[in-house]
Amino acid sequence: MIEIIGLEKSFNGQKVLNGINLRIEHGEIMAVIGRSGGGKSVLLKNIIGILKPDKGSIIIDGVDITKLRGREMDKTRQKLGVLFQGGALFDSMTAYENVAFPLKEKIKIGKKALQEKVSKALEDVGLKGMEDKYPSEMSGGMRKRVALARTLITEPRIVLFDEPTTGLDPILLNSTHKLIRCTHETHGFTGIVISHEIPEIFDISDKVAFLYRGAIEEVGTPDEIKRSSNPMVRQFLTGSSEGPVELLCEKETRR
C-alpha cells in the first residue's frame, strides 16, 4: 500500500505540490490525471526518492520513505519499476541491452534464461526482431515500448508510469494499455499511472485522482469521476476551454 500524506514541494519559492493526500491500496492501479505542469511528474519523483519533499510523508508498506537515505532507500527502490516520460533508455545500449540491464545488474541470471526473458519481454511489446536497434534508430513509440519492457522485466511490486502512452498511435495506445492490464493481472503490482489519455485511461485504472494546483481535487472510481459534478473535473474531462480551470495563457497575460 502507498499512502501520501500532506506532501508539499516548492521550487524557487513556487509551490508545485501543495498538500497532496492520496492512498493507493495494494494491487490497485491509480490513474493521476490533471493539467500539464500540474506537478504529476514531481509527485512521481518524490515517490521514487529522486526529489525530497519539503513537508509530508510517503508511506510504502508501512515505511515512511521520505526519512530513508542511501541503502535503506535503495531497498525500497528494489520494489519499484518506473517508466519515465521520455523512456530514459540508455543511448549507448541496444534495445536488448537496455531491457537486459536491470536483470543483469540486480539478479544473478544465466545467459540463456536472460536471453529468453528479454526476447519474451520485447515480443510482448511488439518489438520482436528489434533487439539490435539503438535508441537513436527507433521512433518515439518504439523507445517507449522498449522502456516499458525494461520496467516490467524485473516484475516489480509497485510500478510508476509517467505518461506511458503519450505520442503513441491509437492502436499502440490500446495495446500498451492492454499490456499494462495483462501484466497487472499476472503479477498483481500496485500501479500509479500519470496520463492525459481520457477516456482510455479509465479502462485500465481501478481509481482515478484529479490533481489541480498541486493538490488532489477529487478521487474515485472511473465511473465516479465520469459522473463527477465537480466543475473542474467536468471541464478537464470534456477538454473545454471555458470553465473554472485556469488557462495558462490567461495567467500569463495577467502577469
Binding site: R77, V82, F84, A88, D91, E105
Partner: protein, 259 residues
C-alpha cells in the same frame, strides 16, 4: 554600503557552498572507487574513450610542440655556443612541464567536453534518474570509471606527448639545423633523471583527477547551469574553462612543491 557588503557576503557564501558541493562530489566518488562491486568493463570502455578520442590530437600537438621548442631554443643556445644542450632543454621542458600540461589541456578540450555533454544529456533525458530508480548508484556507473580511466590514461598520453615531442625536436635539431644525432640523444640521457619523469607523472595523475572530476560534476549537475540543451552547452563550456584554469594553477603549485 550595507547592501554592497550583503551582496558580497551572499556571493562569497554561495561560492563556498558550491566549492563544498564539488568537494563532496569528489569525496563521494573516491569512496565508491574502493567499495565493490567494481565495474571493470565500464572502466575499459572509458579508458578507450579517453585514449581513442585524444590520441590524434596528442600526436599532432606533441610533435609540433617539440619542433617549435627545438627551433626557438636552438637560436638562444647558439648565441652561447651551447647547442649541445638542445636535447636536454627540449626533453626536460616536455617531461616536467609541457607534456603533462599540454596533453591535459588537449584531453580537456577533446574528451573532457564530450564527457560533460554525455553525462549532461543523460541527466536531462532522465537516464540518471532511471539508474537511481533501479536502485543502481550513478556514481558507480558514470563517475568512478571515468576518474580511474583518467588516472590511467593521462600519464600515458603525457608520455606519448613527451616521446613524440622529443622526436619532433630531433627532426628540427638534427635534420634541419645540423646538430649531431649522438649529441642530441646522449645529452638527454645525461641530464634527464628519474626524478623529472616522476614530476611529470605526478602532474599527469593529478590533472587526470581534476579534468574527470570537473567534467563529471558539471555534466551531473547540468540543470544547475541552465535548462535543457542550453544547460548542457553552458556546463560543457564551464567544464572546459574551469578544468583548463585549474590545470594551470595546480601545475604552478605542484611544480613549486616538487622542484
Amino acid at each position: 554600503m550595507i547592501n554592497l557588503l550583503r551582496r558580497l557576503g551572499s556571493r562569497a557564501l554561495s561560492f563556498l557552498k558550491r566549492m563544498g558541493h564539488m568537494l563532496m562530489f569528489l569525496l563521494n566518488s573516491i569512496y565508491y572507487t574502493f567499495v565493490p562491486p567494481f565495474k571493470f568493463r565500464l572502466l575499459l570502455k572509458q579508458i578507450r574513450f579517453f585514449g581513442n578520442k585524444s590520441m590524434i590530437v596528442i600526436l599532432l600537438t606533441g610533435s609540433f610542440t617539440g619542433m617549435v621548442m627545438a627551433l626557438q631554443i636552438y637560436h638562444t643556445l647558439n648565441k652561447f655556443g651551447s647547442e649541445a644542450l638542445l636535447g636536454p632543454a627540449v626533453a626536460l621542458s616536455l617531461i616536467r612541464e609541457l607534456g603533462p600540461v599540454l596533453s591535459a589541456l588537449m584531453v580537456t578540450g577533446r574528451a573532457g567536453s564530450a564527457l560533460t555533454a554525455e553525462i549532461g544529456i543523460m541527466r536531462i533525458s532522465e537516464q540518471i534518474d532511471a539508474l537511481v530508480s533501479m536502485a543502481l548508484n550513478p556514481m558507480r556507473y558514470l563517475i568512478v570509471p571515468n576518474i580511474i580511466a583518467a588516472i590511467i590514461v593521462f600519464p600515458l598520453l603525457a608520455a606519448i606527448f613527451d616521446v613524440i615531442g622529443i622526436y619532433g625536436g630531433y627532426i628540427i635539431a638534427v635534420k634541419l639545423l645540423g646538430l649531431s644525432e649522438g649529441t642530441y640523444f646522449s645529452q638527454i640521457d645525461i641530464f634527464v633523471e628519474w626524478k623529472d619523469v616522476k614530476i611529470g607523472l605526478y602532474k599527469s595523475i593529478s590533472f587526470g583527477i581534476i579534468v574527470s572530476w570537473i567534467s563529471c560534476y558539471k555534466g551531473y549537475f547540468t540543470e544547475e547551469t541552465g535548462f535543457g540543451a542550453e544547460g548542457v552547452s553552458r556546463s560543457t563550456t564551464d567544464a572546459v574553462v574551469m578544468s583548463s584554469v585549474l590545470i594551470l594553477i595546480w601545475d604552478y603549485f605542484l611544480g613549486s612543491v616538487l622542484l
